[in-house]
């Protein structure tokens, strides 16, 4: 009897310990998720104050909404551009800054510093640089090149938004890669060197497999982050020109806060949730094929 009282007491203490985290997750993660799904089944105009059950209407509307299709495409371009550029640049920087050369610490700090700058401040500075008569075109004109009006052309606007975001966050991925690179045992490299492997061969067959868990982590984080981009779009392009940079989250924002259509916006956020979930699951499931080991 005494032991079961003790067990109950132990359990009570345990539940009390985890209660703050569980309650927090319930209130701020699970409840909002459930609420958004519930809202997405309604026609809800916040200005007119209407809230009526609409069943699957919002989801049916998605199927024939050209604006949504355009925003999915814009998100796709943005994510592909960002992920490829960000991960490859971060890896290159990490490999370069992993050398024992003078000044590497300064460069590491230099590339990492944008990560700690406020996102909006960073973006506003870039919006000035990217103006038709801004700093970037001023620099190009010194080289005799007439730069485009970056934020007003459909392709250049998308490229600009991607590059601004890459420079903002590449430092974080760089540090993660750097930490992984420093965990690659020197003796393995040396053994390969003795066997006659060149630098590229050693990178390809030793370094990359050994840091593959970090590559997995970084790619999941970057892909999820790329789908949630909002502030940069709002500040730099407002979704334009045309709808070329209206990515999914910006479209969602327009529906909710510009057009007061919260029901449809909720349905779009459910779609975004599903996309992120599926992408993450796919990466997780395929990790066995390309991730060397798990840490």
């Amino acid at each position: 009897m005494a032991s079961s009282t003790l067990a109950r007491r132990d359990a009570a203490v345990g539940y009390t310990m985890v209660a703050p985290a569980v309650l927090g997750a319930l209130a701020f993660v699970v409840a909002p998720l459930v609420a958004v799904v519930w809202y997405s089944l309604h026609e809800w105009n916040v200005l007119a104050n209407t809230f009526t059950f609409a069943g699957a209407d919002n989801y049916e509307r998605m199927l024939s909404d050209p604006g949504l299709r355009d925003s999915l495409l814009a998100s796709l371009w943005f994510s592909v551009g960002l992920v490829v550029l960000n991960i490859s640049l971060a890896l290159v920087l990490a490999v370069l800054l992993n050398q024992r050369l003078p000044g590497t610490t300064t460069f590491r700090t230099f590339f990492f510093s944008p990560v700690v700058v406020s996102l909006v401040a960073w973006t506003i500075v870039w919006s000035f640089l990217l103006q038709a008569d801004g700093g970037i075109n001023g620099f190009l004109s010194l080289l005799g090149i007439e730069g485009p009006n970056w934020l007003r052309g459909e392709t250049t606007a998308m490229i600009s938004v991607i590059v601004v975001q890459v420079f903002k966050n590449v430092g974080l991925n760089m540090i993660l890669f750097l930490a992984a690179l420093q965990g690659v045992p020197e003796e393995v490299q040396e053994a390969a060197r003795i066997d006659g492997a060149g630098a590229w061969r050693r990178f390809r067959s030793i370094t990359l497999p050994l840091i593959s868990p970090t590559v997995l982590l970084v790619s999941i984080l970057t892909i999820v982050g790329s789908l949630e981009v909002f502030a940069q779009i709002a500040v730099l392009t407002g979704g334009g020109p045309g709808s070329s940079t209206t990515v999914l989250v910006y479209y969602l924002y327009q529906q909710a806060f510009r057009f007061n259509d919260f029901g449809y916006a909720s349905a779009i956020s459910v779609l975004l949730f599903v996309i992120v979930l599926v992408l993450t699951l796919v990466q997780w499931q395929t990790r066995k094929r390309w991730v060397f080991h798990e840490v």
Binding site: P32, A35, F51, A132, R152, V249, F262, S266, L272
Partner: protein, 443 residues
């Protein structure tokens, strides 16, 4: 989140449990609010303790805000049992309506808010605002009949008044006469006097001034290639309009509109008389020779350069005055609509309307004369006020508005982006614009 007072339970519905909804990216918040139809007439019932009122505005001008605060403080002193204070909360112009509806969505409705004329039909029809006509009519000394019917029209529905148009501000053209003279160009005021004040003249002066100063020529303020409705100040001179008067037919493809926007396009890309996309130029900081904006912006002028203000130039369809209206509405979802309406009646009574007339021409017939306006506004001469304000309100048209304006604004903005390149096909872009907005007009 505090539950809202439900004064007339039969007419209200609890539409959802207040819950922060994060989803993947945004918090969508639902709250209980009223369905409108509140009766705010009669003396407001005295609350258990004095309430704090909040009014959202888009001006950040310290002189104007100080003036509002002074009027509000006098109201607080007069009604200490009713209110403890009134706060004026500035929301930047560009995001004003979005931020306001976000507050509504978050269950944080202000008690009163400025409302832009473009969104007037949407707000008036929505039921979010209370009818203030009975309250204003019955307030002693308010002189409701002094209000101009033409000013009230946009804000009325079924005999009720859903916001008071406190500002009926004509658009005018401000001139940096230093820059114009430096370029050896004629003074616009002289051209007005001789009847030669046209958009083509304005463009030529702007082009020459910009070439001489290395700065910008003519800036349509706040247009910035986003708020396209501000271009109505120009296209009204061509007799153009974005949609038919009943709001059901797109008229972007009408010859008047094609001509007007071709003029704007060429003035920008061929003559370089107007700043191109992505170029910011603030007239009041001395960055441009001329700007089209509302008279209420005169407060931003200092003595750093010589300036003048003249009526809008004439286009091919003659000179057309344009006004921008701003209303003050009382939100049904606010916590104390009856107190807020009582404050509105104070804020806009004849005496305070005269004070506010310095920057916001009131909809009161008795106050719309150069003498009254001049007493309130030392920066402008009586001649300027007569020409620009008093005459400017006569026969003026208001900026475009529509019940579906938010969607139209975004859709037209996205379509017109194609127009703002040097080699744009104006007619083609406008045909695309009509194709895109026609379904929204019929919505």
């Amino acid at each position: 989140m505090t539950p809202l007072t439900r004064r007339t339970p039969a007419r209200r519905r609890l539409v959802g449990v207040p819950l922060a909804a994060g989803g993947a990216a945004l918090a969508l918040v639902l709250t209980a609010c009223s369905g409108g139809g509140d009766d705010v007439s009669g003396e407001p019932s005295t609350p258990s303790e004095p309430v704090e009122l909040r009014m959202t505005v888009w001006t950040a001008d310290e002189t104007q805000l100080a003036q509002f605060q002074e009027i509000a403080d006098a109201y607080v002193a007069e009604n200490p049992d009713l209110v403890s204070g009134v706060t004026f909360e500035t929301i930047p112009f560009e995001d004003y309506t979005t931020s306001l509806t976000t507050q509504l969505a978050g269950g944080n409705a202000p008690d009163l808010a400025w409302i832009l004329e473009s969104y007037a039909p949407e707000f008036v029809a929505s039921g979010a605002l209370v009818d203030v006509a009975p309250k204003l009519r019955e307030t002693e000394g308010y002189e409701y009949d002094d209000l101009l019917d033409s000013s009230l029209a946009l804000w009325e529905k079924d005999g009720g008044l859903y916001a008071y148009p406190f500002s009926n501000s004509p658009f005018a053209l401000f001139v940096n006469t230093d820059q114009v003279a430096a370029a050896g160009q004629p003074n616009p005021a002289d051209l007005v006097a001789s009847g030669e004040w046209t958009y083509d003249q304005a463009r030529d002066i702007a082009q020459a001034a910009a070439a001489t100063s290395g700065k910008q020529g003519l800036v349509v303020r706040d247009f910035d290639y986003k708020i396209w409705e501000n271009l109505s100040t120009v296209w009204d001179g061509w007799g153009a309009a974005p949609w038919s008067e009943d709001g059901t037919q797109c008229t972007f493809t009408d010859p008047e509109m094609v001509d007007a926007l071709t003029w704007v396009h060429d003035a920008t890309f061929v003559d370089k008389a107007m700043p191109g996309p992505g170029t910011t130029a603030d007239f009041f900081a001395g960055d441009a020779a001329m700007t089209i904006t509302q008279i209420s912006r005169a407060s931003a002028l200092d003595d750093s350069f010589a300036w003048d203000v003249v009526p809008l130039p004439a286009g091919p369809a003659d000179q057309q005055n344009v006004i921008g209206q701003a209303g003050i509405g009382v939100f049904a979802a606010g916590e104390h609509p009856d107190v807020a309406a009582d404050f509105l009646a104070w804020f806009t009574n004849p005496e305070n309307a005269e004070t506010l007339a310095a920057y916001f021409p009131p909809p009161r017939e008795s106050l719309l004369n150069a003498e009254t306006l001049g007493a309130a506004n030392p920066k402008l001469s009586e001649t300027q006020l007569q020409a620009v304000v008093v005459d400017g309100i006569q026969g003026a048209v208001t900026k475009p508005s529509h019940q579906n304006f938010a969607k139209l604004q975004d859709t037209v903005r996205a379509q017109l982006d194609a127009l703002w390149t040097a080699d744009a096909d104006v007619e083609g872009v406008l045909a695309d614009t009509c194709a895109a907005i026609q379904p929204l007009l019929e919505d």
